[in-house]
């Protein structure tokens, strides 16, 4: 009843292809952004630094993975490796270039990750599907190994765990969780908007064409080489920026062991659960994989904390989480984004059936 397009007429193609054609969506998005900005005024430091900041950062990385896997159809398992490139580039830029603005360092880190991504994307021109995933696995291991092996990247720090520099923007040192949260929110919001613009424009159509039918894509004049490498580069850029933020705004340390294959798999699951080939799915999927275990933990410890052994509780949480993922994939293989879309379609008619 409230969510329908009645009375909203679009009279030009530009209007019809705008980012949020429905007035209700525009209002909703404005509210969401406003709420996101206001969160630090109501949430405590734990919520900000343990939940909101990692959620946003992992959403950004999932978005990068989604561009590559969901839109361009190139299965990759190297996202944590590209995150590591971003984190270490950011560390080195700030260390070695005096007075480099933090935002510039983050963007340059993304560019570094993009270059590495192009190199590791080269196999995609010859192999596809699961075989490509195995090939990109090499990037994961090679990058983490070389960051450990060559001391220059860590500035010859013997401990292996480097403390990340402070985030300094325009002379102000941002060290409270709220300030870091705003920085992360700003970067993630802008990059998500850019991703949406690419996805709905000619760039996204090129990616999806390569994903759906590469021979036909070539016949329309698309260069497979350029499109695939572009997808790898942009995806790795997002992962790299995410990695830099992950190290600087969340972990506050820069260490290769933070970017293991485990993290790559979690990001892969975020994309699959969230919904392949959707922007919103990256956020929903990251939220699901990151937050559900945390809430389950709090809930079960509150419920059985005194009666049952803690290790049994955490083991059963894992089992339950696994069951949730499996059953979710059976009932809604297209992910959380599909659920959201179905809800919107139902809302158009609600509460009247016709």
């Amino acid at each position: 009843m409230f969510y329908r397009e009645t009375g909203q007429f679009r009279t030009s193609y530009a209007q019809d292809s705008q980012i949020l054609p429905l007035r209700q969506d525009r209002i909703g998005m404005a509210f969401l952004l406003l709420a996101a900005i206001m969160i630090p005024f109501v949430a405590n430091a734990y919520w900000l630094s343990a939940i909101m900041i990692p959620w946003l950062i992992l959403s950004l990385v999932a978005l990068g993975q989604n561009i590559l896997m969901g839109y361009a159809g190139q299965l990759s398992l190297g996202s944590a490796g590209f995150m590591a490139v971003g984190a270490f580039s950011c560390y080195n830029f700030i260390l070695r270039i005096d007075g480099i603005p933090f935002i510039v360092a983050v963007i340059l880190s993304g560019v570094c990750a993009a270059l590495v991504g192009i190199v590791f994307g080269l196999p995609s021109l010859r192999i596809r599907g699961l075989y490509l995933a195995v090939a990109t696995l090499a990037s994961q291991f090679f990058i983490v190994w070389s960051l450990d092996k060559f001391g220059w990247f860590k500035n010859y720090d013997p401990s292996g765990v480097i403390t990340a520099q402070k985030i300094v923007i325009m002379g102000y040192t941002l060290d409270t969780p709220a300030q870091k949260y705003w920085v992360v929110l700003g970067i993630v919001a802008v990059l998500a908007l850019l991703a949406k613009n690419m996805a709905r424009g000619s760039v996204g159509r090129g990616w999806m064409a390569v994903r759906d039918m590469d021979v036909a894509a070539e016949v329309t004049g698309l260069s497979l080489l350029r499109t695939k490498l572009q997808a790898f580069a942009i995806s790795s850029f997002y992962c790299g920026v995410g990695g830099a933020l992950f190290a600087f705004a969340y972990l506050q340390t820069v260490e290769p062991s933070a970017f293991t294959i485990d993290l790559s798999f979690r990001i892969l699951f975020m994309v699959i659960i969230g919904g392949l080939g959707t922007i919103i799915g990256s956020f929903l999927g990251a939220g699901f994989i990151l937050l559900v275990p945390i809430f389950m933990n709090i809930f079960f410890h509150g419920l059985f904390g005194h009666a049952v052994d803690a290790s049994i509780i955490s083991a059963s949480e894992q089992v339950l989480f696994g069951v949730m993922i499996i059953s979710f994939m059976i009932f809604e293989p297209l992910g959380l984004a599909r659920l959201w879309q179905l809800t919107k379609e139902r809302l158009r008619l609600w509460p009247f059936k016709h």
């Binding site: 030009s12 613009n197 159509r205 016949v219």
Partner: protein, 274 residues
């Protein structure tokens, strides 16, 4: 070698785009896959604005012929001339850049995209905005997007598929998918259109619709059409000239009437007592 032109459907004076000089000239094309001779020493030409059919029994090499023309296969021998220039090292992308579009025998649509997106994807060659311009919605990216949309809408109207414009193509019935694929090929505004069995698997109404679309495209845009088709009635009705292949060899080249009465063609299709 080249047959005279006769119009089975329209008188010459009625055509908005009269048939002109050769666009494509294929000279002694041979294509082998290992020991299999897919095409042997085939020569024919395609004239500007004509509808040219390639027919033949299964396995005659018709699809291979189209794949050679648009660079998916590279023949071992022979040359292809496009508007008088010899083509070397053809690729599908180069063919597209020269104005050659095509459809496929098995529908090759982008399944996860809507009809509109599929047709707009056909505009690839006309989108010059870089990914940064698209990401930041720079003026050029916006202008190209609107332009592509206008052309896509024109084609949608032309093919009478307005009602399904935002439907994902995977949900459409076969006949409509074929039409969308034609739309995608048209979106590039090609000068030569290659159609690989555009009417395969269609019922009679769908075939008639498709025939009308092909004739309209030819008449309205002056597009040169090269098509492969099994339905003899269709071929004889809409094409200007017909090449008949059998076992990778050209057996006849001529107007529909000549082809119809040719003994070799009858033998190839009906079989012959040895």
């Amino acid at each position: 070698m080249t047959a005279p032109i006769q119009h089975s459907t329209l008188q010459p004076t009625e055509r908005a785009y009269p048939i002109g000089a050769p666009v494509l000239e294929l000279d002694s094309i041979s294509l082998r896959f290992g020991g299999v001779h897919a095409l042997t020493n085939i020569s024919f030409n395609v004239l500007e604005h004509e509808i040219r059919a390639i027919i033949g029994p299964n396995g005659a090499g018709k699809s291979s012929m189209l794949n050679v023309i648009n660079g998916i296969y590279v023949p071992q021998e022979g040359t292809i001339k496009f508007r008088g220039n010899v083509l070397n090292g053809m690729t599908p992308t180069k063919a597209a850049a020269m104005g050659i579009s095509r459809t496929f025998q098995n529908i090759a649509l982008f399944k996860g995209m809507t009809v509109l997106d599929n047709i707009m994807a056909g505009r690839t060659l006309h989108s010059h905005a870089t990914f940064l311009e698209v990401a930041f919605q720079a003026p050029r990216a916006r202008r190209e997007e609107t332009e592509s949309r206008e052309i896509a809408e024109e084609i949608i109207e032309f093919l009478e598929i307005e009602h399904i414009r935002k439907t994902p193509v995977a949900r459409l019935p076969y006949g409509l998918q074929k039409r969308v694929e034609l739309g995608r090929a048209l979106a590039a505004r090609p000068s030569v259109l290659l159609l690989d069995e555009p009417m395969a698997g269609m019922n009679i109404e769908e075939k008639q619709d498709m025939c009308r679309s092909i004739l309209d495209v030819n008449d309205h845009y002056g597009t040169t059409v090269v098509l492969i088709e099994h339905d003899m009635g269709v071929v004889m009705d809409i094409s200007d000239r017909v090449v008949v292949l059998d076992y990778g060899k050209k057996i006849v080249d001529g107007t529909p009437d000549e082809v119809r009465s040719n003994q070799n063609v009858i033998d190839a299709y009906l079989g012959v007592a040895h």
